[in-house]
Amino acid sequence: MATRTDNEIRELTPEQGQQLLDDKARQYLGISGEEFRIRWEAGEIDADDEPDVMRVAMLLPLAG
């Protein structure tokens, strides 16, 4: 077992962050990133509603 270097860190632009949010909202919840954001900010979605909500909500700051 060799000693490894640290993992790659990638700085995303807000556009790349929005794309990632959209991809994961569709993958995990079947809605767009924009719809997720609107429903989240309106308080219609709870982080504990289902397992994947928190997974997607954590991406929101990347989207600016």
Binding site: M1, D6, I9, K24, G43, R55, M58, P61
Partner: protein
């Protein structure tokens, strides 16, 4: 040594997380928001918040993400503080087993750190997976240590224990 600028503080934080993750996975980390202090948190996300496979007979997966803020303290210089976290340990092909959450913002009335155990067990009218088991604050180092010491995950680097010890200091 205290960070003299927000950028120094953020770079040290990001490097620290990356180093801890390297104990278990080669997955990349995405960050955004730059180095500017703001009321809104910044995010650090491993592998798009997908579950990544860990090495070992237990066939576990891990997902990791954190939110953080950047503040200046008159004595300690610029500092990064965690503002939320999501650490999920899952079983390959089955899904989440354990989900450590801290989400002080948002609609949920539960704002303290907690654990969800994704077991299909009904307790009265509730399912165990929905129950918020209080934990106190969990560190990423705790998750790595749990995985290796108790859950049969094989570390990817020989110096993982030393690295965790140094990171906790």
């Amino acid at each position: 040594m205290p960070a003299r600028t927000p950028a120094e503080a953020v770079q040290a934080y990001r490097a620290s997380i990356s180093r801890v993750l390297s104990c278990l996975t080669t997955a990349h980390v995405d960050v955004g928001g730059g180095y500017a202090p703001s009321a809104a948190p910044h995010a650090l996300i491993m592998a798009g918040n997908d579950a990544v496979a860990l090495r070992g007979a237990s066939r576990l997966t891990l997902a990791v993400s954190e939110h953080y803020t950047i503040t200046e303290d008159s004595d300690a210089g610029w500092q990064v503080h965690r503002a939320a976290y999501f650490y999920a340990i899952g079983l390959h092909d089955t899904g989440e087993l354990l989900a450590y959450h801290w989400h002080p913002r948002g609609k949920s009335p539960v704002v303290d750190p907690h654990l969800h155990v994704r077991a299909n067990i009904q307790l009265g009218e509730r399912w165990l997976g929905k129950v918020h088991l209080p934990t106190g604050a969990i560190e990423l180092e705790d998750i790595v240590s749990l995985a290796v010491n108790e859950l049969a995950v094989e570390p990817l680097r020989e110096d993982w224990e030393l690295l965790l010890h140094e990171n906790r200091a």
